[in-house]
C-alpha cells in the first residue's frame, strides 16, 4: 500500500482542552478517507494540521513524502484545503473568485478556463458565473468552494464538512465530482456530519474526544458490531423503545425515521421482541434483521457503554 498521507501521534491542545490527542493513520493513493465523529471530536483540528495551516503540538505528518510540519509551504501546490467555514470572497463574483485562486496557484489561463468550465458544468453552476458569491445559496457556495479548491489540480484534497447545509441534489453532484477525482487518482480526506455520506467513503476514521477510535472500511466496521440489528417499523416508536429497552439481550434501541433500530446480541431474539410488543398491544408492522447503518455503528461503537461492547 503506497501511503500518500501519513500521520502519527498528532496532538493539539487549546488552553486546557485537548482537541486532538495522538492520532495516527495512513491514507493510500486514490482513496476517499472519511473522518466522522461528533462535534468537538477533533475533525477540523486534524484537517487543519494536515493542511499545514495549524502547527501541531506534537506528532508528525507527511503528504507525498513532504513533512507537513516542517515544510508546509512546499506542500501548498500539491494539496487543496477547503475549510468548514465558507472561505471565499462574498464581494467577488464566481468567476473572480476562481480566477483569484487560480492566479495564486499560478495556473496557466488556458488551463484555468478549461478546468473552471468543466467543474462549473459538473456542479450545474455555469449560469451563475457573474453572480457575487455572497448572493449564492449555501449549496452553490460550497460547490464554488470545491471548484476553487480544485482549479490547480491538487493531488490530495482535504475537505472539512463540505456538504453541511447543502441540499440533497447538490450533495449528489458533489459526490459525483469526488468520485470522478478518485478515478483520476486524487486522494481525498473528507470530514462529514452526514453518516449516509460516511458509507460512501473507502475507509473511515471514527473520532471521539480527540482520539481515533476506529480506522477501517465501512464493511470492517460493520463486522465489529456483534449480534444483530433488528428494525421495527411502528407509528409509535417511543413506546416501542420503552417496551424493548429493558429486555434481556437488548444492547441499545435507536429511534430512526419510521421506527426503531434494536441492537440485540443474537438474531434469534426477534420472536421475543415481537412477543413483548404484542403483549403490551403496541402496534408495529414488522421486525426484521437489517444491515446496520453507520449511525447504528456509531451508537454501538462510540455510544455510552460502547467500550464494554467493543
Amino acid at each position: 500500500m503506497d501511503a500518500v498521507v501519513r500521520a502519527s501521534g498528532l496532538a493539539k491542545r487549546f488552553g486546557g482542552v485537548v482537541a486532538v490527542d495522538g492520532i495516527g493513520f495512513e491514507v493510500s493513493h486514490g482513496e476517499i478517507f472519511g473522518l466522522v465523529g461528533p462535534d468537538g471530536a477533533g475533525k477540523t483540528t486534524l484537517l487543519r494540521m494536515l493542511a499545514g495551516v495549524m502547527a501541531p503540538d506534537a506528532g508528525a505528518a507527511s503528504i507525498d513524502g513532504i513533512d507537513v510540519v516542517a515544510a508546509p509551504e512546499r506542500l501548498r501546490e500539491r494539496i487543496s484545503y477547503m475549510p468548514q467555514r465558507f472561505g471565499l470572497y462574498e464581494d467577488l463574483t464566481v468567476d473572480e473568485n476562481i480566477r483569484f485562486y487560480a492566479e495564486l496557484f499560478e495556473v496557466p489561463p488556458a488551463q484555468r478556463r478549461e478546468r473552471a468550465a468543466r467543474l462549473l458544468a459538473a456542479s450545474a453552476m455555469e449560469p451563475f458565473r457573474r453572480r457575487l458569491a455572497g448572493q449564492l445559496s449555501g449549496g452553490m457556495k460550497q460547490k464554488l468552494g470545491l471548484t476553487c479548491a480544485l482549479v490547480h489540480a491538487p493531488r490530495v484534497v482535504l475537505l472539512d464538512e463540505p456538504t453541511t447545509g447543502v441540499d440533497p441534489l447538490s450533495r449528489r453532484e458533489f459526490w459525483r465530482i469526488l468520485y470522478a477525482l478518485r478515478s483520476e487518482g486524487v486522494t481525498l480526506l473528507i470530514s462529514t456530519a452526514y453518516l449516509d455520506e460516511a458509507e460512501r467513503c473507502d475507509r473511515l476514521a471514527l473520532l471521539q474526544d480527540g482520539h481515533l477510535r476506529f480506522c477501517e472500511s465501512p464493511a470492517e466496521l460493520r463486522a465489529r458490531m456483534p449480534g444483530a440489528l433488528v428494525e421495527v417499523a411502528s407509528t409509535s416508536p417511543r413506546e416501542v423503545r420503552a417496551a424493548l429497552a429493558p429486555l434481556a439481550g437488548v444492547r441499545s434501541v435507536l429511534l430512526v425515521g419510521d421506527g426503531v433500530h434494536v441492537h440485540v446480541d443474537n438474531a434469534a431474539r426477534v420472536p421475543q421482541l415481537e412477543a413483548a410488543l404484542s403483549e403490551r398491544a403496541i402496534a408495529f408492522d414488522a421486525a426484521r434483521v437489517v444491515m446496520p447503518t453507520i449511525e447504528d455503528l456509531f451508537v454501538a461503537l462510540l455510544g455510552p457503554g460502547a467500550q464494554a461492547a467493543a
Binding site: 495551516v53 495549524m54 509551504e73 485562486y101
Partner: protein
C-alpha cells in the same frame, strides 16, 4: 516573490474597495471633507477682534485714540459702553473680547505729567489670541503715543526726532502672514495618514473576520507577496488623495507652492509607506476590523493633529513634549511639506527629515512583513 500573485491580490483588493461604499468614501470623500474642514476651520489668525469701549472722558483726544483701533484691521469697535459695570456683561455674552477704558482725566493727566494710562481688559479664555490681541493693542497705542509726542514737540518748535532704532521687518515665505498658508500643507499629512492607515487597518482584519484567511493561508502566497499586494492599491489611492489635497491647496485655498513636484512625490511616497505599513501592522495584530480601525485612528489623528506641528508650532511646546515629537513620524513629513510649499526647499536641504522618513519607512515595512504568520491558532 511572484509578481503574478502580488497582482492577483492587488486586483482583488481594488475590486473589494471599489464595491465597498464605506471604503470608497474613505478613499475619495474624506480627503475633500478634511481639506475643507481644516482649511476653513483651523484659523489661528486674529483679525477683527470685537472691542467694547468705555470712554469716560469723551474728548476729541480720547476719540482720536479709539479711532486708531477702528482703523486697525485687527480690531473692530462693536459697542460703546456707558458704565464700568457693563464690561463684565459684554464679555460674558461674548459681545467683545477686548474692552478699552479711557479714564475721565485722560487728557489732563497727559498734559500735566506727559504720561497717560488707559485700561485694556482682555478675555483670555483663549490665551493664544489674548496674547496676540494684547500685543496688537500695545502696537496701536504705541503708534498713537509716538504721534502725540511728535505733535507736541512740533508745537514747541523742536525738530521731530525719529526713534533711534527702527525695525524694518520683512516677512518671508508666508508674506501675508496667513495661518492658512502655514496650516494647509500640514493637512495633507493628516489626510494621508488618516485615510492610509484606516484603509489598510481593515485589510487583514477583514480576512480574519470574514473567514477568508484560513483559505488564503493554505495557498502558496508568501507573507511578502501578501504585504506588497495588499499595500500597492492603497499606495495608488494614497497618491491620488495627495493629488486631490494638492489641487485643493493650490486652486481652492491659493496656498503658494514654490517647491518641485518631484520632491513632493518622493517624500509623499515615503510617508505613504510609513502609514500604510503601520495600518497593516495594526491589522495583522488586532484581527478585528473595528478594533484595528480604532487603534489606527489613535495612532494617526491624535498625535498628528497635536504633535506634528502642522498647526501648533513645535518650538512653542514644553521641552518634554518637544522631545516626544521626534518620535512622531508625521513631524518630519509636515516639516518637509511646509518647506516644499512655502520655501521651495529641495531634497538636499531637507536631507534630515527625509532620512528620518526613510528610516521609519524601512523599519515599519520590515515589521509589517514579519508580523504576518501563515498560521491559524
Amino acid at each position: 516573490m511572484k509578481l503574478r500573485r502580488v497582482r492577483a491580490i492587488a486586483l482583488k483588493e481594488l475590486l473589494q474597495t471599489w464595491r465597498d461604499p464605506r471604503s470608497l468614501m474613505m478613499a475619495l470623500l474624506v480627503p475633500v471633507m478634511q481639506m475643507l474642514l481644516l482649511g476653513y476651520g483651523v484659523n489661528l489668525d486674529i483679525q477683527h477682534v470685537p472691542v467694547c469701549t468705555l470712554d469716560e472722558e469723551g474728548s476729541f483726544f480720547s476719540q482720536a485714540l479709539l479711532k486708531r483701533f477702528q482703523a486697525s484691521r485687527y480690531f473692530e469697535l462693536v459697542e460703546a459702553l456707558k458704565r464700568p459695570g457693563d464690561i463684565a456683561g459684554a464679555m460674558d455674552q461674548g459681545r467683545c473680547r477686548l474692552a478699552l477704558v479711557v479714564p475721565a482725566d485722560f487728557s489732563r493727566t497727559i498734559a500735566q505729567t506727559s504720561h497717560g494710562t488707559l485700561q485694556a481688559i482682555v478675555d483670555a479664555t483663549d490665551d493664544n489670541s489674548a496674547a496676540l490681541a494684547t500685543a496688537y493693542a500695545n502696537a496701536v497705542i504705541a503708534g498713537f503715543s509716538a504721534n502725540v509726542q511728535a505733535v507736541a514737540m512740533q508745537r514747541q518748535g523742536l525738530p521731530v526726532q525719529p526713534p533711534a532704532l527702527v525695525v524694518q521687518s520683512r516677512v518671508w515665505f508666508n508674506e501675508d502672514l496667513e495661518s492658512r498658508n502655514f496650516i494647509i500643507p500640514g493637512v495633507v499629512a493628516l489626510v494621508l495618514a488618516l485615510v492610509g492607515a484606516q484603509l489598510t487597518s481593515l485589510t487583514i482584519a477583514r480576512e480574519w473576520e470574514r473567514g477568508t484567511m484560513e483559505l488564503l493561508v493554505s495557498t502558496p502566497v508568501t507573507p511578502m507577496e501578501l504585504l506588497v499586494g495588499k499595500l500597492a492599491p492603497y499606495f495608488v489611492i494614497g497618491l491620488l488623495d495627495a493629488g486631490i489635497c494638492l489641487a485643493f491647496a493650490l486652486v481652492w485655498f491659493e496656498v503658494p507652492f514654490r517647491g518641485a513636484f518631484t520632491t513632493l512625490l518622493v517624500t509623499t511616497s515615503l510617508f505613504l509607506v510609513v502609514v500604510l505599513s503601520m495600518g497593516y501592522l495594526v491589522s495583522v495584530t488586532i484581527r478585528s476590523q473595528v478594533g484595528a480601525s480604532q487603534i489606527a485612528l489613535l495612532l494617526t489623528v491624535m498625535p498628528i493633529s497635536l504633535l506634528s506641528g502642522y498647526a501648533f508650532p513645535i518650538d512653542q511646546m514644553p521641552a518634554p513634549i518637544q522631545a516626544i515629537t521626534y518620535a512622531i513620524y508625521a513631524r518630519y513629513y509636515v516639516t518637509i511639506l511646509k518647506a516644499v510649499f512655502l520655501k521651495g526647499s529641495g531634497l538636499a536641504a531637507l536631507a534630515l527629515p527625509v532620512l528620518a522618513l526613510v528610516a521609519y519607512a524601512i523599519a515599519l515595512a520590515w515589521l509589517a512583513a514579519r508580523a504576518f504568520r501563515k498560521r491559524i491558532e
